[in-house]
């Protein structure tokens, strides 16, 4: 974060150009004050949750045998998570994790897509709190599943992969310790945060640049080009929002599957 700030601070923009800084992620407190106040990110978290709940209620409150409209859309979403993620990655005992995976997928997608929804325009996942919390939830779940199914043998399975010459454990066990218990939650959260943070920054720079370039006759042509690219980037952000939600969900499934079936 400080590296990003330093990078942004060192650039010297032309006179009159309002450069975006990481301040665009600092949202004012809506309720309360201090570090634990209720800010825009917290509000968007509830908005994202409300969107997901509303979509599911609308789709499945009065389900039809032959799905139409929104029910059709949400059913394909549910089927995708169940068949392509839960069953394919974990196996048939993955069915019981469908509610968790489904909630993760749709909540992260809704929180991401808020970044390009007019009037919201800030992904709730572009601050560390939500990705970190979700990663902690996933960490607790896959470890709990492992302990529930294998007891303390879970740790033995994780730290000492079977079928390896004993001497090699000196090399492999530290890696497994770090990779499973530290790197997994870290990469889960940082991947999501980094993508949404960078995407939001990119859009801000392009549209502020458009406004600056359009204000002078000399640079109008560049302003039009910047605007065109900015619109393209909004489309790209839709792709990133889906992709990041998908990657987070499928990695959750891979980790749960690994805890359930350590032999693989």
């Amino acid at each position: 974060m400080s590296a990003v700030l330093a990078l942004l601070g060192s650039s010297r923009p032309p006179e009159g150009f309002e450069k975006p800084t990481a301040e665009i992620f600092d949202t004012a407190c809506l309720i309360g004050s201090g570090d634990f106040c209720f800010n825009r990110i917290a509000l968007y978290m509830f908005v994202a949750a409300a969107i997901v709940v509303a979509l599911f209620v609308l789709a499945f409150a009065r389900p039809r045998l032959v799905p139409r409209g929104i029910q059709n859309l949400m059913e394909s979403g549910v089927e995708f998570v169940r068949n392509q993620i839960a069953v394919e990655v974990i196996g048939h005992d993955g069915i019981r994790f469908v509610p968790l995976l489904l909630s993760l997928f749709f909540f992260i997608f809704a929180a991401n897509i808020l970044g390009i929804v007019p009037f919201f325009q800030l992904p709730a996942t572009s601050r560390m709190a939500i990705p970190a919390f979700l990663a902690v939830v996933v960490w607790l779940v896959f470890n709990a599943v492992g302990i529930q199914h294998h007891g303390l043998r879970y740790f033995k399975n994780v730290l000492f992969p079977p079928g390896v010459p004993k001497a090699l454990y000196i090399l492999l066990t530290p890696i497994e310790l770090v990779s499973v218990f530290l790197v997994r939650p870290l990469t889960l959260s940082v991947r999501l945060l980094g993508n949404m943070f960078a995407g939001h920054m990119l859009l801000t720079i392009f549209f502020l640049g458009t406004a600056y370039l359009l204000a002078q006759w000399k640079t109008v042509a560049f302003g039009v080009a910047a605007f065109g690219l900015g619109v393209g980037l909004v489309g790209f952000e839709i792709l990133v929002a889906v992709l990041q939600a998908y990657i987070f969900t499928i990695l959750t499934a891979v980790y749960i599957g690994g805890a359930l079936h350590p032999e693989h």
């Binding site: 392509q84 394919e88 992969p161 090699l168 090399l171 990779s179 790197v183 499928i250």
Partner: protein
């Protein structure tokens, strides 16, 4: 990849690819950190850190083979 991909198709493979990257990174970081500590304790500069990183990535590649790449048939039971 038979052990895993019997159950999963290309979607599962995409998830595993990310998990493999995590393992490789963990290998470099873990043994790199151990090498760095050895450097600090023994008073070397940049000797065991690169050695540790090379050992780490080699061990991580082997670990990826053990976890994801080994065929079920030649696995000792």
């Amino acid at each position: 990849m038979a052990g895993r991909t019997d159950r999963g198709g290309s979607w599962a493979a995409a998830g595993e690819a990310w998990a493999v990257i995590g393992t490789l990174a963990a290998g470099i970081v873990t043994w790199g950190a151990i090498g760095y500590l050895v450097d600090r304790l023994a008073g070397f500069r940049w000797l065991f850190l690169p050695i540790g990183m090379v050992i780490g990535v080699a061990a991580a590649i082997y670990l990826v083979y053990v976890r994801y790449g080994r065929d079920d048939h030649d696995r000792p039971t």
